[in-house]
Symmetry: C2
């Protein structure tokens, strides 16, 4: 390992806080392009041909970015949906991330990666570090902490050196997450709370001027009580709250997440924004913009800022 | 969800067992191409240009496959190293996986993916399911169980419908894995043993004619005692044992893993095979072939079959 240079850029947590305050939005829109759900004008051969599916997905995501940009602080591309389209899908991902960045949005790569150190090093370089002359694909990414503290070090190094952010999976939004995350440890507390304490410790060295850390945590908005407890256990972490909309959570469930500042929680909605047109019957861009505007307003209101 | 058709192909566990017995090898070679470690004849512009790095990596992996094919039952591409090269890297991955398949090798995509069900669905489709007219990228993949049982269901569906295999992260080979995996639960046992029991339960429906399940487990070869305990807790699981070679484990540490049959454990070595030429000074292909042959022989011997 070479010596770490001084910080090359501002902390992710500070850039995020500045963006949230400026835009008065704590909303992320998740980019989960599904060829079978594309608007009819973009479908073309997307259901039979991977190249067409990747192109349709990229056009869809660009249109969504144009529509929601005034209302959101960033986008959260879900890598699985791009990987499902192979190399063409990853080309689309690269295109979409660059487009979002040009629109002034933060990009949070929803990758949930986690592996031993030498492999995490490659993941950090894939998603959080400059790629030759190009900027990093993402400003931040989601990671899985099951492989332990040393597996996270390459991601933390990217936070220090490149102003990146990481969001550690603490409590997932699905029901089955309880199978592992709610296992009770010898001190009577569930596993996820131990993971939360680890995340809090790891983030201590990366706290910015607003008191928030570049090491955040994913906590399902579908578990409102856990959100409150997570806030208490990780007072400096930005909480990324998926599960609003299609998964059933509402902004009203989330007020407690925001007590550490306007940017101390981010609400992520995917399907309910992307595919709003399928229930409202409006133009897909209009429907996404309206739903994003509504969510942004509701979330800002409950945040109390 | 549509109704599940009858099994379209044989179980992964049976195909694996047949291949192990036929080749008398329980060795996988991990494909971790690193542009900074390529043989000099393949370096070209690989250290400055992503397209060149991807092409050099693909040529390197194809050469390794040619060299080790007689000695290994499969290859384990580590996706992180391909993702680090962006869309060009994924094109190289696709190329390398197809090449390995043509060489008669099983392909185990080392992806460590895990997310809520709708996202896992996309990951299963990316790596375990036919892609249009093309076969699946991998015969099996590694997954992370932290998001719980329902998050694994799409991978299990691919095992049922497409003869795929999954290897669940149970105990990782790195030292820091203990931070989470060794947390002690209220019954006095470490977390990883609870995960092992979950893996054993999940695999019960996918046991083939050799008594092995298509749901396997990753257990670091660097923890010999845990390997024995894992064998006991998951008698039907194929144990994938990384950590031999560069990470310090030796085949002699692993005898207990094989008590459920010749194919009941797979030993994976990456750096010690790929980059053997850097210590021996031989041609890179020759060095890899010699190291793979040696490991294959040592592992077969300790397996007692």
């Amino acid at each position: 390992m070479s010596a770490e240079p001084a910080l090359a850029t501002s902390l992710f947590a500070d850039r995020l806080a500045e963006a949230v305050e400026r835009k008065r939005s704590q909303l992320l829109v998740g980019l989960d392009p599904r060829p079978d759900l594309l608007p009819v004008e973009l479908v073309g051969d997307a259901q039979v041909d991977r190249v067409a599916a990747a192109e349709g997905s990229a056009r869809f995501c660009r249109g969504i970015i144009d529509s929601v940009a005034p209302h959101v602080v960033g986008v959260k591309p879900q890598l699985a949906f791009f990987e499902a389209l192979g190399a063409d899908g990853i080309r689309a991902l690269e295109d979409v991330c660059a487009y979002a960045r040009e629109a002034g949005l933060l990009v949070l790569a929803d990758a949930k990666r986690g592996d031993i150190g030498s492999t995490s090093r490659a993941y950090a370089s894939a998603y959080l570090e400059p790629r030759g002359d190009d900027p990093p694909l993402g400003d931040a990414m989601t990671v899985n902490v099951y492989p332990g503290r040393d597996s996270l070090e390459p991601f933390l190094a990217a936070c220090r050196r490149h102003g990146a952010g990481v969001f550690c999976l603490v409590k997932t939004s699905n029901e089955g997450g309880a199978d592992v995350q709610d296992l009770v440890l010898s001190d009577g507390r569930p596993l996820w709370q131990h993971v939360a304490r680890l995340v809090h410790e790891l983030g201590g060295e990366l706290v910015g001027s607003r008191g928030l850390s570049s090491v955040g945590a994913v906590v399902g908005a579908t578990h409102p009580r856990a959100v409150g407890e997570a806030r208490r256990l990780m007072p400096q972490a930005v909480l990324l709250l998926p599960g609003v909309g299609a998964q059933g959570a509402t902004p009203a469930d989330l007020a407690r997440a925001f007590t550490s500042g306007p940017a101390s929680a981010l609400v992520s909605a995917s399907r309910s924004v992307l595919y709003a047109f399928r229930t409202t019957g409006e133009d897909w861009r209009t429907a996404a913009a309206l739903e994003a505007a509504r969510l942004r307003r509701d979330v800002w209101a409950v945040s109390g800022w």
